[in-house]
Protein backbone atom coordinates (compact mmCIF):
# COMPACT_ATOMS: atom_id res chain seq x y z
CA UNK A 1 0.00 0.00 0.00
CA UNK A 2 2.63 2.50 0.97
CA UNK A 3 6.34 2.60 1.21
CA UNK A 4 6.13 2.12 4.98
CA UNK A 5 7.51 -1.37 4.66
CA UNK A 6 10.68 -0.24 2.95
CA UNK A 7 11.10 3.27 4.21
CA UNK A 8 14.33 5.08 4.73
CA UNK A 9 17.50 3.94 3.17
CA UNK A 10 19.83 5.01 5.92
CA UNK A 11 19.42 5.31 9.65
CA UNK A 12 20.11 8.95 10.41
CA UNK A 13 22.37 9.86 13.23
CA UNK A 14 20.80 12.02 15.90
CA UNK A 15 20.94 15.74 15.33
CA UNK A 16 23.80 17.15 17.32
CA UNK A 17 23.35 19.72 20.04
CA UNK A 18 25.20 22.29 17.97
CA UNK A 19 22.71 21.92 15.11
CA UNK A 20 19.79 22.62 17.40
CA UNK A 21 18.91 26.26 17.10
CA UNK A 22 15.72 28.31 16.95
CA UNK A 23 14.61 29.44 13.47
CA UNK A 24 15.77 32.73 11.97
CA UNK A 25 13.21 35.57 12.21
CA UNK A 26 11.15 33.46 14.58
CA UNK A 27 10.07 31.25 11.70
CA UNK A 28 8.90 34.01 9.35
CA UNK A 29 9.96 33.09 5.83
CA UNK A 30 9.28 33.76 2.18
CA UNK A 31 8.70 30.05 1.64
CA UNK A 32 5.79 30.01 4.10
CA UNK A 33 4.44 33.19 2.57
CA UNK A 34 4.52 31.56 -0.84
CA UNK A 35 2.59 28.52 0.37
CA UNK A 36 0.09 30.76 2.19
CA UNK A 37 -0.61 32.86 -0.88
CA UNK A 38 -0.89 29.86 -3.15
CA UNK A 39 -3.26 28.34 -0.65
CA UNK A 40 -5.59 31.34 -0.72
CA UNK A 41 -5.48 31.58 -4.50
CA UNK A 42 -6.52 27.93 -4.70
CA UNK A 43 -9.69 28.68 -2.77
CA UNK A 44 -12.35 29.27 -5.39
CA UNK A 45 -14.77 30.88 -2.96
CA UNK A 46 -12.22 33.41 -1.78
CA UNK A 47 -11.33 34.27 -5.36
CA UNK A 48 -14.98 34.85 -6.21
CA UNK A 49 -15.42 37.21 -3.27
CA UNK A 50 -12.24 39.24 -3.64
CA UNK A 51 -11.69 39.26 -7.40
CA UNK A 52 -14.80 38.29 -9.34
CA UNK A 53 -17.54 39.97 -7.31
CA UNK A 54 -16.06 43.49 -7.19
CA UNK A 55 -15.37 43.25 -10.92
CA UNK A 56 -18.92 42.14 -11.64
CA UNK A 57 -20.23 44.96 -9.44
CA UNK A 58 -18.33 47.40 -11.59
CA UNK A 59 -19.76 45.97 -14.79
CA UNK A 60 -23.29 46.00 -13.33
CA UNK A 61 -23.32 49.30 -11.47
CA UNK A 62 -20.43 51.20 -12.96
CA UNK A 63 -20.90 50.81 -16.68
CA UNK A 64 -24.44 52.32 -16.78
CA UNK A 65 -22.83 55.59 -15.62
CA UNK A 66 -20.46 55.63 -18.58
CA UNK A 67 -20.34 59.11 -19.99
CA UNK A 68 -21.41 60.79 -16.73
CA UNK A 69 -18.98 63.33 -15.32
CA UNK A 70 -18.12 64.55 -11.85
CA UNK A 71 -18.17 68.31 -11.14
CA UNK A 72 -14.49 68.50 -12.06
CA UNK A 73 -15.06 66.74 -15.36
CA UNK A 74 -13.55 63.41 -14.43
CA UNK A 75 -15.62 60.28 -15.15
CA UNK A 76 -18.11 58.92 -12.59
CA UNK A 77 -16.93 55.43 -13.53
CA UNK A 78 -13.57 56.37 -11.97
CA UNK A 79 -15.34 57.20 -8.68
CA UNK A 80 -17.13 53.83 -8.78
CA UNK A 81 -14.02 51.92 -9.77
CA UNK A 82 -11.91 53.35 -6.92
CA UNK A 83 -14.72 52.69 -4.43
CA UNK A 84 -14.99 49.09 -5.55
CA UNK A 85 -11.20 48.71 -5.43
CA UNK A 86 -11.40 49.69 -1.76
CA UNK A 87 -14.18 47.15 -1.35
CA UNK A 88 -12.14 44.40 -3.04
CA UNK A 89 -9.11 45.19 -0.89
CA UNK A 90 -11.17 45.22 2.29
CA UNK A 91 -12.80 41.86 1.60
CA UNK A 92 -9.40 40.38 0.70
CA UNK A 93 -7.55 41.63 3.76
CA UNK A 94 -10.37 40.88 6.17
CA UNK A 95 -10.71 37.30 4.97
CA UNK A 96 -6.94 36.75 5.10
CA UNK A 97 -6.81 38.07 8.66
CA UNK A 98 -9.88 36.14 9.70
CA UNK A 99 -8.18 32.94 8.52
CA UNK A 100 -6.74 32.69 12.03
CA UNK A 101 -10.28 31.86 13.19
CA UNK A 102 -10.31 28.83 10.92
CA UNK A 103 -6.82 27.81 11.96
CA UNK A 104 -7.66 28.10 15.62
CA UNK A 105 -10.85 26.07 15.09
CA UNK A 106 -8.90 23.36 13.27
CA UNK A 107 -6.30 23.13 16.04
CA UNK A 108 -3.51 24.33 13.75
CA UNK A 109 -2.59 27.13 16.17
CA UNK A 110 -2.20 24.52 18.87
CA UNK A 111 -0.02 22.44 16.60
CA UNK A 112 2.10 25.53 15.93
CA UNK A 113 2.69 25.94 19.64
CA UNK A 114 4.62 22.67 19.47
CA UNK A 115 7.02 24.25 16.98
CA UNK A 116 9.55 27.06 17.57
CA UNK A 117 7.49 29.44 15.38
CA UNK A 118 7.08 32.75 17.22
CA UNK A 119 3.46 33.92 17.44
CA UNK A 120 4.54 37.32 16.11
CA UNK A 121 5.98 35.65 13.00
CA UNK A 122 2.69 33.83 12.51
CA UNK A 123 0.70 37.07 12.67
CA UNK A 124 3.27 38.79 10.46
CA UNK A 125 2.78 36.12 7.81
CA UNK A 126 -0.98 36.60 7.98
CA UNK A 127 -0.69 40.39 7.61
CA UNK A 128 1.68 40.18 4.63
CA UNK A 129 -0.56 37.58 2.99
CA UNK A 130 -3.53 39.87 3.56
CA UNK A 131 -1.72 42.81 1.98
CA UNK A 132 -0.66 40.78 -1.07
CA UNK A 133 -4.28 39.73 -1.59
CA UNK A 134 -5.46 43.30 -1.03
CA UNK A 135 -3.07 44.52 -3.71
CA UNK A 136 -4.36 41.85 -6.05
CA UNK A 137 -7.93 43.01 -5.39
CA UNK A 138 -7.06 46.62 -6.23
CA UNK A 139 -5.09 45.70 -9.34
CA UNK A 140 -7.83 43.45 -10.73
CA UNK A 141 -10.51 46.09 -10.13
CA UNK A 142 -8.39 48.77 -11.78
CA UNK A 143 -7.66 46.44 -14.71
CA UNK A 144 -11.36 45.79 -15.22
CA UNK A 145 -12.00 49.55 -15.04
CA UNK A 146 -9.27 50.35 -17.52
CA UNK A 147 -10.46 47.63 -19.89
CA UNK A 148 -13.98 49.08 -19.64
CA UNK A 149 -12.80 52.47 -20.74
CA UNK A 150 -12.07 54.36 -17.51
CA UNK A 151 -9.50 57.04 -18.37
CA UNK A 152 -7.84 58.99 -15.56
CA UNK A 153 -4.59 60.93 -15.15
CA UNK A 154 -1.75 58.62 -14.16
CA UNK A 155 -1.22 60.19 -10.73
CA UNK A 156 -4.81 59.35 -9.78
CA UNK A 157 -4.38 55.69 -10.69
CA UNK A 158 -1.24 55.55 -8.59
CA UNK A 159 -2.26 57.56 -5.52
CA UNK A 160 -5.81 56.23 -5.32
CA UNK A 161 -4.53 52.68 -5.82
CA UNK A 162 -1.90 53.06 -3.11
CA UNK A 163 -4.34 54.59 -0.64
CA UNK A 164 -6.97 51.90 -1.33
CA UNK A 165 -4.34 49.24 -0.84
CA UNK A 166 -2.42 50.58 2.17
CA UNK A 167 -5.64 51.76 3.81
CA UNK A 168 -6.90 48.19 3.74
CA UNK A 169 -4.41 47.47 6.52
CA UNK A 170 -7.25 48.52 8.81
CA UNK A 171 -9.23 45.54 7.57
CA UNK A 172 -6.34 43.14 7.97
CA UNK A 173 -6.42 44.24 11.61
CA UNK A 174 -10.21 43.83 11.66
CA UNK A 175 -9.83 40.31 10.25
CA UNK A 176 -7.27 39.37 12.92
CA UNK A 177 -9.46 40.93 15.60
CA UNK A 178 -12.44 38.82 14.52
CA UNK A 179 -10.19 35.80 14.02
CA UNK A 180 -8.99 35.90 17.59
CA UNK A 181 -12.49 36.70 18.84
CA UNK A 182 -14.28 33.73 17.30
CA UNK A 183 -12.58 30.42 16.59
CA UNK A 184 -14.98 29.34 13.85
CA UNK A 185 -14.27 27.58 10.60
CA UNK A 186 -16.88 29.58 8.71
CA UNK A 187 -16.18 33.02 10.08
CA UNK A 188 -16.40 34.68 6.66
CA UNK A 189 -20.00 33.54 6.32
CA UNK A 190 -21.07 36.20 8.77
CA UNK A 191 -18.24 38.58 8.01
CA UNK A 192 -19.24 38.80 4.32
CA UNK A 193 -22.64 40.42 4.95
CA UNK A 194 -21.15 42.55 7.75
CA UNK A 195 -18.53 43.89 5.33
CA UNK A 196 -21.22 44.66 2.75
CA UNK A 197 -23.13 46.76 5.30
CA UNK A 198 -19.93 48.55 6.35
CA UNK A 199 -19.11 49.20 2.70
CA UNK A 200 -22.57 50.67 2.19
CA UNK A 201 -22.20 52.95 5.22
CA UNK A 202 -18.71 53.83 4.09
CA UNK A 203 -20.05 55.12 0.80
CA UNK A 204 -18.47 52.51 -1.41
CA UNK A 205 -21.65 51.40 -3.15
CA UNK A 206 -23.35 54.78 -3.51
CA UNK A 207 -22.57 58.36 -2.53
CA UNK A 208 -23.42 59.06 1.11
CA UNK A 209 -25.32 62.18 0.01
CA UNK A 210 -28.08 59.85 -1.15
CA UNK A 211 -28.64 58.64 2.42
CA UNK A 212 -30.86 60.44 4.98
CA UNK A 213 -29.01 63.15 6.90
CA UNK A 214 -28.87 61.23 10.20
CA UNK A 215 -27.49 58.18 8.44
CA UNK A 216 -24.84 60.32 6.79
CA UNK A 217 -23.66 61.58 10.17
CA UNK A 218 -23.53 58.06 11.62
CA UNK A 219 -21.83 56.72 8.51
CA UNK A 220 -18.90 59.08 8.96
CA UNK A 221 -17.93 57.21 12.09
CA UNK A 222 -17.97 53.72 10.55
CA UNK A 223 -14.66 52.04 9.65
CA UNK A 224 -14.93 52.09 5.86
CA UNK A 225 -15.76 55.77 5.47
CA UNK A 226 -12.24 57.06 6.08
CA UNK A 227 -10.36 54.86 3.64
CA UNK A 228 -13.04 55.35 0.97
CA UNK A 229 -12.89 59.13 1.21
CA UNK A 230 -9.09 59.17 1.18
CA UNK A 231 -8.80 56.79 -1.77
CA UNK A 232 -11.18 58.94 -3.84
CA UNK A 233 -9.62 62.25 -2.75
CA UNK A 234 -7.14 62.39 -5.68
CA UNK A 235 -10.09 61.94 -8.05
CA UNK A 236 -12.55 64.36 -6.45
CA UNK A 237 -9.78 66.85 -5.80
CA UNK A 238 -11.24 67.65 -2.39
CA UNK A 239 -7.77 67.82 -0.85
CA UNK A 240 -6.79 66.38 2.51
CA UNK A 241 -9.83 65.29 4.47
CA UNK A 242 -8.71 65.36 8.11
CA UNK A 243 -11.92 63.80 9.39
CA UNK A 244 -11.43 60.86 7.03
CA UNK A 245 -7.80 60.49 8.09
CA UNK A 246 -8.84 60.56 11.74
CA UNK A 247 -11.46 57.92 11.02
CA UNK A 248 -8.90 55.63 9.34
CA UNK A 249 -6.25 56.15 12.03
CA UNK A 250 -8.77 55.64 14.83
CA UNK A 251 -10.19 52.41 13.48
CA UNK A 252 -6.75 51.05 12.60
CA UNK A 253 -5.60 51.70 16.15
CA UNK A 254 -8.79 50.19 17.58
CA UNK A 255 -8.64 46.96 15.60
CA UNK A 256 -4.87 46.58 15.98
CA UNK A 257 -4.96 47.03 19.74
CA UNK A 258 -8.01 44.77 20.00
CA UNK A 259 -6.35 42.07 17.91
CA UNK A 260 -3.10 42.41 19.88
CA UNK A 261 -4.96 42.07 23.16
CA UNK A 262 -6.88 38.97 22.07
CA UNK A 263 -3.74 37.55 20.49
CA UNK A 264 -1.86 37.89 23.77
CA UNK A 265 -4.71 36.23 25.63
CA UNK A 266 -4.68 33.42 23.08
CA UNK A 267 -0.94 32.77 23.24
CA UNK A 268 -0.56 33.02 27.01
CA UNK A 269 -3.56 30.80 27.69
CA UNK A 270 -1.88 27.53 28.46
Amino acid sequence: MTSAASPATTVPTPTSRADRRPPALGGFSAAVLGIEIRRVLRNRRTLIFILVMPAVFFLLFGLPSRGDRLDNGLPVTGWIMISLAVYAAMVATTSAGAAVATERALGWSRQLRLTPLRPAAYVGTKVVTAMVLGLLGVVVEFAVGAASGVRLPAYIWVTSGLVAWLGSLVFAALGLFVGYLAPAENVMQFMGPALAILAMLGGLFLPLELLPHVMQQIAKFTPVYGVGQLARAPLTGNGMDWAALGNLAGWTAFFTLGAARLFRRDTTRV
Partner: protein, 308 residues
Protein backbone atom coordinates in the same frame (compact mmCIF):
# COMPACT_ATOMS: atom_id res chain seq x y z
CA UNK B 1 20.83 30.02 27.71
CA UNK B 2 19.13 27.30 29.64
CA UNK B 3 21.11 24.41 30.88
CA UNK B 4 19.87 21.36 28.98
CA UNK B 5 22.39 18.76 29.81
CA UNK B 6 22.66 15.41 28.10
CA UNK B 7 22.72 13.57 31.40
CA UNK B 8 19.33 14.89 32.48
CA UNK B 9 16.30 12.64 32.26
CA UNK B 10 14.30 12.98 29.05
CA UNK B 11 11.17 13.53 31.11
CA UNK B 12 10.84 14.39 34.75
CA UNK B 13 7.38 15.03 36.15
CA UNK B 14 7.15 15.76 39.86
CA UNK B 15 3.94 16.13 41.83
CA UNK B 16 2.06 17.10 38.68
CA UNK B 17 -1.48 18.20 39.49
CA UNK B 18 -4.29 19.65 37.41
CA UNK B 19 -7.88 20.21 38.35
CA UNK B 20 -10.83 21.29 36.23
CA UNK B 21 -13.42 22.66 38.62
CA UNK B 22 -14.32 19.84 41.01
CA UNK B 23 -12.53 17.21 38.89
CA UNK B 24 -8.92 16.34 39.65
CA UNK B 25 -7.65 15.18 36.27
CA UNK B 26 -4.03 14.67 37.34
CA UNK B 27 -3.32 14.03 40.99
CA UNK B 28 0.27 14.40 42.09
CA UNK B 29 1.78 12.38 39.25
CA UNK B 30 5.49 11.55 39.31
CA UNK B 31 7.31 10.11 36.33
CA UNK B 32 10.93 9.90 35.26
CA UNK B 33 11.97 8.66 31.85
CA UNK B 34 15.59 8.21 30.88
CA UNK B 35 16.76 8.91 27.32
CA UNK B 36 16.14 6.07 24.90
CA UNK B 37 13.22 4.49 26.72
CA UNK B 38 10.03 3.56 24.87
CA UNK B 39 7.26 4.08 27.38
CA UNK B 40 3.54 3.38 27.11
CA UNK B 41 1.36 5.62 29.17
CA UNK B 42 -1.56 3.28 29.58
CA UNK B 43 -4.91 3.90 31.19
CA UNK B 44 -8.65 3.92 30.60
CA UNK B 45 -10.40 6.95 29.12
CA UNK B 46 -10.50 9.77 31.63
CA UNK B 47 -7.40 8.57 33.50
CA UNK B 48 -5.70 11.91 32.92
CA UNK B 49 -3.37 10.84 30.12
CA UNK B 50 -4.10 13.67 27.71
CA UNK B 51 -4.01 16.29 30.46
CA UNK B 52 -0.61 14.96 31.53
CA UNK B 53 0.65 15.04 27.95
CA UNK B 54 -0.61 18.61 27.54
CA UNK B 55 1.30 19.73 30.62
CA UNK B 56 4.37 17.78 29.56
CA UNK B 57 4.39 19.67 26.24
CA UNK B 58 3.67 23.05 27.79
CA UNK B 59 0.20 23.29 26.27
CA UNK B 60 -1.37 23.38 29.72
CA UNK B 61 -0.08 24.86 32.95
CA UNK B 62 0.00 22.55 35.98
CA UNK B 63 -1.80 23.72 39.12
CA UNK B 64 1.08 22.23 41.06
CA UNK B 65 4.24 20.28 40.35
CA UNK B 66 6.95 20.63 37.74
CA UNK B 67 7.77 19.44 34.24
CA UNK B 68 11.38 19.15 33.08
CA UNK B 69 12.37 17.91 29.65
CA UNK B 70 16.10 17.23 29.32
CA UNK B 71 16.57 19.42 32.36
CA UNK B 72 14.81 22.43 30.84
CA UNK B 73 11.27 23.69 30.46
CA UNK B 74 8.95 22.32 27.77
CA UNK B 75 9.23 25.68 25.97
CA UNK B 76 13.04 25.33 25.80
CA UNK B 77 12.72 21.83 24.38
CA UNK B 78 10.15 22.98 21.80
CA UNK B 79 12.29 25.93 20.75
CA UNK B 80 15.28 23.71 20.06
CA UNK B 81 13.22 20.98 18.40
CA UNK B 82 14.16 18.45 21.05
CA UNK B 83 10.55 17.43 21.62
CA UNK B 84 7.82 16.81 19.06
CA UNK B 85 4.37 15.38 19.40
CA UNK B 86 1.68 13.56 17.47
CA UNK B 87 -1.62 14.74 18.87
CA UNK B 88 -4.88 12.83 18.76
CA UNK B 89 -6.92 14.95 16.35
CA UNK B 90 -6.96 18.29 14.57
CA UNK B 91 -3.90 20.37 13.96
CA UNK B 92 -3.87 20.10 10.18
CA UNK B 93 -4.93 22.53 7.45
CA UNK B 94 -7.29 20.68 5.15
CA UNK B 95 -6.60 22.81 2.07
CA UNK B 96 -2.83 22.22 2.00
CA UNK B 97 -1.31 19.18 0.35
CA UNK B 98 0.65 16.68 2.40
CA UNK B 99 3.97 17.92 1.02
CA UNK B 100 3.05 21.59 1.51
CA UNK B 101 2.18 20.91 5.15
CA UNK B 102 5.58 19.34 5.73
CA UNK B 103 7.48 22.00 3.77
CA UNK B 104 5.70 24.78 5.64
CA UNK B 105 6.27 23.24 9.06
CA UNK B 106 9.94 22.69 8.22
CA UNK B 107 10.31 26.47 7.94
CA UNK B 108 9.32 26.87 11.58
CA UNK B 109 12.44 25.08 12.81
CA UNK B 110 16.06 26.15 12.79
CA UNK B 111 17.18 22.76 11.54
CA UNK B 112 15.24 19.79 10.16
CA UNK B 113 15.61 16.48 8.42
CA UNK B 114 14.93 16.67 4.65
CA UNK B 115 11.23 16.81 3.71
CA UNK B 116 11.52 13.79 1.43
CA UNK B 117 13.08 11.73 4.18
CA UNK B 118 10.33 12.33 6.74
CA UNK B 119 7.62 11.65 4.15
CA UNK B 120 9.37 8.42 3.36
CA UNK B 121 9.79 7.43 6.98
CA UNK B 122 6.15 8.14 7.73
CA UNK B 123 5.17 6.04 4.73
CA UNK B 124 3.33 8.85 2.94
CA UNK B 125 5.77 9.70 0.15
CA UNK B 126 3.18 8.51 -2.37
CA UNK B 127 0.59 10.89 -0.90
CA UNK B 128 2.75 14.01 -1.18
CA UNK B 129 0.44 15.85 -3.57
CA UNK B 130 -2.83 14.80 -1.97
CA UNK B 131 -4.91 17.41 -0.16
CA UNK B 132 -4.90 16.86 3.58
CA UNK B 133 -8.70 17.06 3.72
CA UNK B 134 -8.89 14.11 1.32
CA UNK B 135 -6.60 11.89 3.39
CA UNK B 136 -8.01 9.17 5.62
CA UNK B 137 -7.69 9.43 9.39
CA UNK B 138 -4.77 7.05 9.34
CA UNK B 139 -3.01 8.95 6.57
CA UNK B 140 -3.49 12.22 8.44
CA UNK B 141 -2.02 10.62 11.52
CA UNK B 142 1.04 9.50 9.57
CA UNK B 143 1.33 13.08 8.32
CA UNK B 144 1.34 14.28 11.93
CA UNK B 145 4.05 11.72 12.54
CA UNK B 146 6.04 13.05 9.57
CA UNK B 147 5.75 16.58 11.02
CA UNK B 148 6.96 15.30 14.37
CA UNK B 149 9.97 13.67 12.69
CA UNK B 150 11.06 16.95 11.07
CA UNK B 151 13.13 18.37 13.94
CA UNK B 152 14.61 14.92 14.63
CA UNK B 153 13.38 15.18 18.22
CA UNK B 154 15.13 13.51 21.12
CA UNK B 155 11.70 12.96 22.66
CA UNK B 156 8.65 11.96 20.65
CA UNK B 157 5.29 12.13 22.39
CA UNK B 158 2.26 10.43 20.86
CA UNK B 159 -1.13 11.06 22.41
CA UNK B 160 -3.48 8.16 21.62
CA UNK B 161 -2.09 8.13 18.08
CA UNK B 162 -4.33 5.41 16.68
CA UNK B 163 -7.68 6.37 18.18
CA UNK B 164 -10.42 6.03 15.62
CA UNK B 165 -8.27 4.19 13.08
CA UNK B 166 -9.29 0.93 11.52
CA UNK B 167 -7.14 -2.15 11.98
CA UNK B 168 -5.20 -1.57 8.79
CA UNK B 169 -4.60 2.07 9.66
CA UNK B 170 -3.31 1.17 13.10
CA UNK B 171 -1.00 -1.47 11.66
CA UNK B 172 0.42 0.91 9.04
CA UNK B 173 0.89 3.62 11.63
CA UNK B 174 2.82 1.43 14.04
CA UNK B 175 4.83 0.01 11.19
CA UNK B 176 5.95 3.54 10.38
CA UNK B 177 6.81 4.18 14.03
CA UNK B 178 8.81 0.97 14.17
CA UNK B 179 10.61 1.81 10.94
CA UNK B 180 11.84 4.97 12.61
CA UNK B 181 14.83 3.25 14.00
CA UNK B 182 16.86 6.20 15.13
CA UNK B 183 18.75 5.09 18.14
CA UNK B 184 18.44 6.95 21.38
CA UNK B 185 15.09 8.54 20.65
CA UNK B 186 12.85 8.55 23.69
CA UNK B 187 9.25 7.70 22.90
CA UNK B 188 6.30 8.23 25.18
CA UNK B 189 2.91 7.20 23.89
CA UNK B 190 -0.42 7.44 25.61
CA UNK B 191 -2.87 4.73 24.73
CA UNK B 192 -5.82 2.81 26.00
CA UNK B 193 -5.07 -0.11 23.70
CA UNK B 194 -3.38 -2.82 25.70
CA UNK B 195 -2.01 -4.64 22.70
CA UNK B 196 -0.20 -1.49 21.57
CA UNK B 197 1.42 -1.04 24.95
CA UNK B 198 2.31 -4.72 25.01
CA UNK B 199 3.73 -4.76 21.49
CA UNK B 200 5.64 -1.49 21.30
CA UNK B 201 6.73 -0.41 24.76
CA UNK B 202 9.72 -1.43 26.85
CA UNK B 203 8.05 0.00 29.88
CA UNK B 204 4.43 0.50 30.83
CA UNK B 205 3.22 3.23 33.14
CA UNK B 206 -0.33 2.47 34.18
CA UNK B 207 -2.43 5.44 35.23
CA UNK B 208 -5.78 5.67 36.87
CA UNK B 209 -7.54 8.74 38.24
CA UNK B 210 -4.53 10.90 37.48
CA UNK B 211 -2.07 8.73 39.40
CA UNK B 212 0.53 6.15 38.49
CA UNK B 213 -0.81 2.82 39.74
CA UNK B 214 1.85 0.57 38.23
CA UNK B 215 5.15 1.12 36.52
CA UNK B 216 7.41 -1.54 35.14
CA UNK B 217 8.42 -3.61 32.14
CA UNK B 218 5.66 -5.31 30.20
CA UNK B 219 6.63 -8.60 31.87
CA UNK B 220 6.52 -7.05 35.32
CA UNK B 221 3.10 -5.57 34.72
CA UNK B 222 1.80 -8.91 33.52
CA UNK B 223 3.24 -10.53 36.61
CA UNK B 224 1.15 -8.25 38.76
CA UNK B 225 -1.78 -10.30 37.65
CA UNK B 226 0.30 -13.41 37.36
CA UNK B 227 -0.57 -17.07 37.28
CA UNK B 228 -3.15 -18.94 35.33
CA UNK B 229 -6.83 -19.53 35.58
CA UNK B 230 -8.21 -23.05 35.66
CA UNK B 231 -11.85 -23.16 34.72
CA UNK B 232 -14.07 -26.21 34.92
CA UNK B 233 -17.73 -27.17 35.08
CA UNK B 234 -18.32 -28.54 38.54
CA UNK B 235 -21.76 -28.15 40.13
CA UNK B 236 -21.55 -27.75 43.88
CA UNK B 237 -17.79 -27.23 43.94
CA UNK B 238 -16.15 -27.30 47.35
CA UNK B 239 -14.63 -23.83 47.38
CA UNK B 240 -12.81 -24.31 50.67
CA UNK B 241 -11.07 -27.47 49.47
CA UNK B 242 -9.96 -25.79 46.28
CA UNK B 243 -8.73 -22.71 48.10
CA UNK B 244 -6.67 -24.95 50.36
CA UNK B 245 -4.65 -26.33 47.45
CA UNK B 246 -1.06 -25.07 47.26
CA UNK B 247 -0.39 -21.90 45.24
CA UNK B 248 -4.09 -21.11 44.77
CA UNK B 249 -4.76 -17.40 44.79
CA UNK B 250 -8.52 -17.28 44.59
CA UNK B 251 -11.55 -19.39 43.86
CA UNK B 252 -14.65 -18.09 42.22
CA UNK B 253 -17.92 -19.89 41.49
CA UNK B 254 -20.09 -18.72 38.62
CA UNK B 255 -23.19 -20.89 38.36
CA UNK B 256 -21.97 -24.39 37.59
CA UNK B 257 -18.50 -23.15 36.69
CA UNK B 258 -15.58 -22.76 39.01
CA UNK B 259 -12.60 -20.51 38.29
CA UNK B 260 -9.38 -21.03 40.18
CA UNK B 261 -6.53 -18.53 39.95
CA UNK B 262 -3.27 -20.23 40.71
CA UNK B 263 0.47 -20.21 40.25
CA UNK B 264 0.40 -24.01 39.84
CA UNK B 265 -2.23 -24.85 37.28
CA UNK B 266 -1.04 -28.44 36.93
CA UNK B 267 -1.81 -29.22 40.56
CA UNK B 268 -5.27 -27.70 40.36
CA UNK B 269 -6.05 -29.49 37.10
CA UNK B 270 -4.84 -32.81 38.49
CA UNK B 271 -6.93 -32.35 41.60
CA UNK B 272 -10.06 -31.37 39.67
CA UNK B 273 -9.81 -34.26 37.18
CA UNK B 274 -8.87 -36.98 39.65
CA UNK B 275 -10.67 -36.02 42.86
CA UNK B 276 -13.84 -34.33 41.62
CA UNK B 277 -16.46 -34.70 38.89
CA UNK B 278 -15.13 -31.64 37.06
CA UNK B 279 -15.39 -31.61 33.26
CA UNK B 280 -14.80 -29.13 30.38
CA UNK B 281 -11.54 -28.12 32.00
CA UNK B 282 -9.67 -25.11 30.52
CA UNK B 283 -6.40 -23.50 31.50
CA UNK B 284 -5.73 -19.93 30.40
CA UNK B 285 -2.86 -17.68 31.24
CA UNK B 286 -3.42 -14.19 32.48
CA UNK B 287 -2.65 -11.53 29.95
CA UNK B 288 -1.97 -7.86 30.08
CA UNK B 289 -5.66 -7.17 29.81
CA UNK B 290 -6.26 -8.89 33.11
CA UNK B 291 -3.50 -6.86 34.68
CA UNK B 292 -4.93 -3.75 33.16
CA UNK B 293 -8.41 -4.46 34.46
CA UNK B 294 -7.15 -5.46 37.86
CA UNK B 295 -5.05 -2.36 38.22
CA UNK B 296 -7.39 0.19 36.75
CA UNK B 297 -10.62 -0.83 38.38
CA UNK B 298 -10.49 -1.52 42.10
CA UNK B 299 -6.88 -2.13 43.02
CA UNK B 300 -5.24 -0.56 46.04
CA UNK B 301 -2.82 1.79 44.35
CA UNK B 302 0.37 1.86 46.38
CA UNK B 303 0.84 -1.87 46.82
CA UNK B 304 0.97 -2.55 43.11
CA UNK B 305 3.76 -0.23 42.17
CA UNK B 306 6.80 -2.27 41.32
CA UNK B 307 10.29 -1.04 40.90
CA UNK B 308 11.50 0.78 37.79
Amino acid sequence: MVDMTDSAPAVELAGLTKTFGPVTAVDGLDLRITPGEVVAFLGPNGAGKTTTVDMLLGLARPDAGTVRLFGGTPADAVRLGRVAAVMQTGGLLKDLTVAETVRMTAQFYGHTRPVGEVLDRAGIADLADRQVGKCSGGQQQRLRFALALLPDPDLMVLDEPTTGMDVEGRRDFWRAIRADARSGRTILFATHYLDEADAYADRIVLVRSGRVVADGTTAEIKNLAAGRVVRATLPGADQAALAALPAVRSVEVRGDAVLVSTDDSDAVARYLLTRTAARDLEITSRNLEDAFLALTTDAPTAALTTGA
